[in-house]
Amino acid sequence: MEEKNKNTEEGIKKEYLKKKPVSVEAHQIPTLSMTDGVLIPNKKNKHIVTSWRITFYGAIILLACLCLFVTKTNSKGVTTHPYWEIFKFTIQGAPTTFQVTIFAIIGAVIIGTATGLGSVSKNKIVNGICGIYVELIRGIPLLVQLMFLYFALGSIIHLEGIVAAIIAFSICFGAYMGEIIRAGIQSIPKGQIEAAKALGLTKSQVFWYVTLPQTIKVVLPAIGNEFISMLKDSSLVSVLALSDILKRGREYISRTFMSLETMLIVALIYLIFTLILSKLVGMMEERLHKNG
């Protein structure tokens, strides 16, 4: 029955590959990089580390130079730093951006865990519901979903803009997160569960002490990646009348008509944030590897 085992194992693997939309960094499985996020710098890949450094320090220096050295004298003879003014104004959107991102990632992890567990569940109904949810969400553009959920939620219950945005984001990203968690759970070798069962652990003990800790380790970098993606995508909430970084920039433009200058600063702010976060994810990955 080794032969038969091999067959079923292969079957499972095939099934797994077929359904696998996101790759999760597992121990031995070579992965074709991650999501649509930025590249994660880690020590093994010198090329990415170098480009990360150049981009990061380049962005910082450019931003500093623009803010400090570019001056403009108006008709009254008053000298101002226009980029510094823009920066001061737009950066006030950062708390909103981070608030939406952080709460939504928490919501997405919760929904994603439920969906991921549902997708590996043997219960056909639960399985089906999770599958439909994932297919539905992945097939509709994020901006469309956001506006739909925002207005749908708004017509049923009165919610503050930011709460509606967080819920909408959680639901949208929960589907992707569900796939990450599912792939993470399925990447745990069957032998681990068998060994735990053979020791007499109950099903829930196997889950809590064996499957879950190993799954967390596998999915954490991918969740970090989703966080970065979400930080960028959170700029979409500007259409929902929330003053995030992008919305603040657009407000500034409508007042001063300095479109190019403002968008340059907005882009630099986002770039610096995502680069810092990608570095943090890279460091986390390294630590996880070190701890076996």
Binding site: M1, E2, E3, K4, N5, N7, T8, G11, H27, P189, G191, Q192, E194, A195, A196, K197, A198, L199, G200, L201, T202, Q205, Y209, V210, P213, Q214, K217, N291, G292
Partner: protein, 247 residues
Amino acid sequence: MAKIEIKNLNKDYENNDGSILHAVKNASLTVNDGEVVVIIGPSGSGKSTLLRTVNSLEKAQGGHIIIDGVDIMDPSTDLRKIREEVGMVFQSFNLFPHLTVLDNITLAPMKVKKMKKAEAEKLAMELLKRVGLEDKAKQRPGQLSGGQQQRVAIARSLAMKPKAMLFDEPTSALDPEMIKEVLDVMVELAKEGMTMLLVTHEMGFAKAAANKVVFMDGGEIIETGTPDEMFENPKSERTKEFLNHIL
């Protein structure tokens, strides 16, 4: 200690194309209290499947598996309880990579038997000493060699104080120079009177420690006998042929 009786066991698999594979056909086998029984046979002969049905990692379709008078095929039997009492060692060790060696061993006693942490750790250290790895307690499985991992896996099983132990090709994944250290631990266990059912290709172990050798082929038990009978004077042609290939 325990007695394992397997009676007329059948196990079928459905292949992906819908065809049925008879993995185990009408197998009967008794492992008496304190006995060491080795199952040998070619790849795909159903020996691992037979072993795995004993603690119900594989569900058999027909027949009986009676451990100390309790039929595990009876739907009312608490399988978890059986697994608690029958230890298992796997070909691929299956240590938990996220836990230290010590935590690997204490996990089940603490969670299943509700043993106190200090008590479980004391037990774990005794067992590690027994398999010669007390200095590795704080390391992770990934830092150990295959032979060391397998010895930890044996210690982990023993921590549950099982009445019987199952070994599924415990040395097949090991480099030759590490096989001995694992076999030594197993021989020691056998001498202490542990009831053991093994699938292995280590004929040296079978000769040294087994009371009975069972030859399986094509899902059937072809022949059963003492190691001497089996290796010196096999009755069946298929047994002879198999032994010629491996000895």
